[in-house]
Chain length 315, copies 2
């Protein structure tokens, strides 16, 4: 199924009443450090603290009334679960979030706080998928995959669309890449509005399956990702990979040390809180600064959900 | 000298080319916790990370060319020194910042990074004032006091003016109070635009000279302030006190523990970094929430300059 910019506009209309139109931030000092004109789309200010609400909200409001009445189900230990729970709440339908039994308590509390049912399972992919299937069978709920879903991709694409509509042309646009919902969506919006610009995925060296896949020209997975970026451990989806190939996405990798330094720099210079997964885009900017010199660069700050008792520079 | 809203408009015109028009932020969860409609003016995103740049910039651009050519001088160990240094840089004139010899290195580096001369002196008020006087005599520089100055007050008043022009009527407006530049300025803007609204100063219990002064009906000082709020240790200025009396400001005090809890809450729920001095306004909101129930409340988030290696909840 091909996703077009029309689908992204439709997503914008669906989510407008519920999602924040997040601000675009500037930073004198980061501009000077990189020698570029930087525009940061602050999705860390999005509802549930991450861009994930856009896709979840679009998916929930894409369902027809009969489907919606059965509710929605997903497996997620992170932001997608909370996002789907809140999205379901905006429509007043049930949400079932399958989570590993060792999930942190605040994450369980957040999902339940949005009115969803948290369903615990063993902490491996097989158990998650099986539990999801059981919930689907029992309730009739619609499965909303975290990234390999055209409704999710169109929803995540609205962040880049808003950014470009606000600031106009960019030379490059950088977003983190994990399963590829955000990056594929960003590629779609950029391809339509600034077709000559370069779409770039920021990826941890210890979870570089997107980099490997783009190099190989075919989907490659990593079984044991090793990175502090807890939002970037998933492997690229097939649908997502197709879109990245179509738009000739460039994947740039960074070490966790570079990511932590970039995260701290943003906290200190911009006075905003971003999470490690999000800081990869700034780490890319700094590590590969020659590539961006003199450019107008858009960056998607994907989220800001951090445990303040376990800051990476305090370890 | 009486300061009017016309002076505030004039300040707005002077600083517009240099200061950020900071965003007004909302928070669903804080609204729910307080039972009020909250509008946060995010001066932690202002240049140098604090509202102080507004007053300093207005003062520097209020000088005639002959005065300006001699430069400006102040004593400050904190945000005002950096703010004056940057303001002087925008006009291309010298700035002399008298700082205690035990000032933290990053603060010295910041002042020098903005092109100012940092002049070290012993860490007491007498030494600071004497050193300032010497610099004035030697260079002819104009003294710009951190708060007891009509140009500074008119400049700080622009933050509340922008907030009110953007959101319209409020029932209450809360700002931190120390020397009273920001609170007196906010009182001026509120008095002109929403004369029936209540202006409120947030003050640490351990530095409650404004509270004592308003109770007594005359200026009272505290010689040994005891609070982690390093920006709120100064005593109220006489000019500032007059304005607070005129506008019947209410002073509400909070403990440092309440301030730290409020700071952490804002970091977690709003994903922005605010400093302890700034968190007092949110601590007031939570401690006295009955007073604000059902109200539309404006809050000035004064700054976000924090040492990330010494977070108060990690002690």
């Amino acid at each position: 199924m091909t996703i077009t910019i029309e689908d992204v506009w439709a997503a914008t209309e669906r989510i407008n009443a519920f999602a924040h139109r997040t601000p675009v931030l500037r930073s004198h000092s980061l501009d000077q450090m990189v020698g570029a004109e930087l525009h940061f789309k602050a999705e860390n200010f999005q509802r549930v603290g991450a861009f994930k609400f856009r896709g979840a909200c679009n998916a929930v409001w894409s369902l027809d009334d009969a489907e919606a009445a059965q509710g929605v189900v997903t497996h997620s230990s992170g932001n997608h679960g909370q996002a789907l729970a809140l999205a379901a709440q905006t429509r007043g339908i049930p949400a079932y979030v399958v989570m590993p039994e060792d999930s942190a308590k605040p994450k369980l509390a957040a999902v339940r706080g949005y009115g969803a049912e948290a369903i615990l399972c063993a902490s491996n992919l097989d158990a998650r998928e099986q539990t999801c299937a059981e919930v689907q069978q029992r309730t009739g709920a619609v499965m909303i995959h975290p990234y390999a879903d055209h409704r999710i991709i169109a929803g995540q694409a609205t962040a880049a669309l808003e950014l470009l509509c606000e600031i106009g042309h960019v030379d490059s646009l950088i977003a983190p890449v994990s399963g590829g919902g955000l990056l594929a969506g960003s590629a779609l919006s950029l391809g339509a509005l600034c077709p000559s610009a370069q779409i770039i995925g920021a990826e941890p060296e210890g979870a570089n399956d997107a980099w490997l896949s783009m190099q190989a020209g075919e989907l490659r997975g990593i079984s044991k990702p090793n990175t502090i970026c807890d939002g970037l451990r998933a492997n690229l989806g097939a649908l997502n990979f197709e879109i990245l190939q179509l738009h000739q996405a460039q994947i740039l990798t960074v070490s966790d040390a570079e990511t932590v330094a970039a995260m701290r720099l943003v906290w200190e210079r911009m006075n905003i809180i971003i999470e490690p997964s999000c800081a990869t885009v700034v780490a890319v900017l700094l590590r590969y600064r020659e590539q961006f010199a003199g450019q107008r660069v858009g960056l998607i700050l994907s989220g800001g959900n951090v445990d303040l008792d376990a800051l990476p520079w305090a370890r």
